[in-house]
Amino acid sequence: MNKDTPEPDNRPDWFGFAAKYAAPIFLLGLVLIFALLQPNFLHPLNLLNVLRQVSISGLIAIGMTFVILTAGIDLSVGSLVALAGLVGAYVSKGGLDNRFAIGAEAATGNPVIYAVLAAVAVGVVGGALQGAAITRLKVPPFVVTLGGLSVFRGAALLFSGGGPISGFSPQYTWWGQGRIGIVPVPVILFFSAAIVAHVVLKHTRFGLHVYSVGGNAAASDLNGVSTRRVTFMVYVIVGFFCGLASFLLSARLNSAEAVAGMGLELDVIAAVVIGGTSLFGGVGSIFGTVVGALLIGVLRNGLVLMNVSSFVQQIVIGLILIAAVAFDQYAASRSRA
């Protein structure tokens, strides 16, 4: 064997290990601390609550992972959720005439499947428009989706006239409030979507191209990868998840409104970044994102259970975001050295 390539040494690489599993280790640590300080934390109902609480932003975070892997960003998700949710609700109610009706009249209108399809369609079209602007007009994603954030919010307000649409049939609200066994429906959807997304990213050509475009777009192009198509598709994907999440959110809250999802993009991006996906693209995983979403959910829930002031909560979550990424960087540099 030639000497110009060093053999991998077989000592345990703690920093490599820590860098790879920073977020899960952090999550486990948090769970332990909360379990010790607040016995109610481990109550199965509480754990299921946490899972349900993270599942809606978690679904969008799955889509956002695709986007950030290409070194893109989508700031418009909160607004798109509001718009898609309203359109889905509108379809479900069969118009705005009985927008506030709760109870018997709520069941009138269109079947739930139409509402889902409408919400998802709005998400997909919204994502496609932004994807087209990014790939065709060559406007940076930050700018396009910052514009989208404003455009979709305005469209939602315009569409609904400001007010909410509420009072859905039990078949509709089941998707947000129902359970299969003891597991809430959104949780099942979240984890199913995570598995599918993981397989797509790690085991399909498209997934590989998402990584390659994020790693080196010019090189991907030279090798015959259609950077443009991949970039376009990731915005469609995040739009799809916005549509799905908007439906679950409106089912959970039994209402859709133009002010829904304000600031949601921050939670979503935080989950992806805490999960170890690099904002520079090319590095990250769905597993990390799921852990990141859980980490934020657990932290928030634990602090609320312990009656920590919401002001302090926000400080703690912000610091952990920075700490998680800093640790990632530090451990990665140590393991490379």
Partner: protein, 315 residues
Amino acid sequence: MSKFKIASGIVSAVAATLISAAPVQAQDLKIVTSMPSLGFPFFVHMQNSLNAEAEVLGGIEVINQDGQNSAPKQTAELEAAIINQVSGVVISPLDSIALAPGVKQVIDAGIPVMTIDRRVDGVDGVLGHVGADNVIGGEAQANLIIDLFPDGATIVNLQGQPGASPAIDRNKGVHNILDSMSDKYVFVAEQTANFAREEGASVTESILAGLDSPPDVIVAANDDMALGALQVTQEQGLDIVIIGFDALPEALASVRDGGLTATIEQTPGEQSRRALQALVDHLRNGTTPEPLVLLEPFAITKDNIEKAERLSELN
């Protein structure tokens, strides 16, 4: 201040919060207060009033929750309250519809719920509601305009954040009264300024620039926007009647000093006290409170400023 001092300051602040969270002896009730957003002084005042009343009643451990302006977050915190097996919840829901499923979960868990300021829709079993109707508050603004300008007036309407229920209701109240006299009372401009002072100023500036003559009245859906408008009219040396909403201390000071003409008092502190009293009475003595108590909002001007709840916060 040295870095160390800042750091230790933060640490002790966190520690103090954690310690204050620890249960104290001889308390029979654990009550959650759930505010839609403590980013707004209005709700901070409400929470402070609740805490003060709890102190007066005694034996109550208060858990303060903050929905951070997000229906899912406020719902998540209610779910935590259920897990913590609290005795009761006093809530001002961010949204009367979106919080309904969360409140229903609390009630289904056998925990009594009082709502203040805003109600929840379509949920059976809420112990009671103490509130002030925002529509009536808007009507109070309109009635004041009629009092001040019996022969009619031109009006600029600064609306609140689109879609937010207080914004919708307050606007509705103003129009309820004035639309029937649209020959005399004319809305020369209606724009949202998102409940924000800065936007109140910039929107007013643009509106004034576009009008041939200044309006008689600027009516705003909250004090922040009214104070923003005042800033502009004073800069331009215009004497326009400006009416705010919420009776915040700063607005009261302005009314006292001849800036704003009026603001609307919703008595949020009184609402909070009454709601907590009713809840505690129910928990300790098994009484059933009045299901609906609506306090009447009224206009505060220089003449009746002593009736403002938060006057004492000035100085």
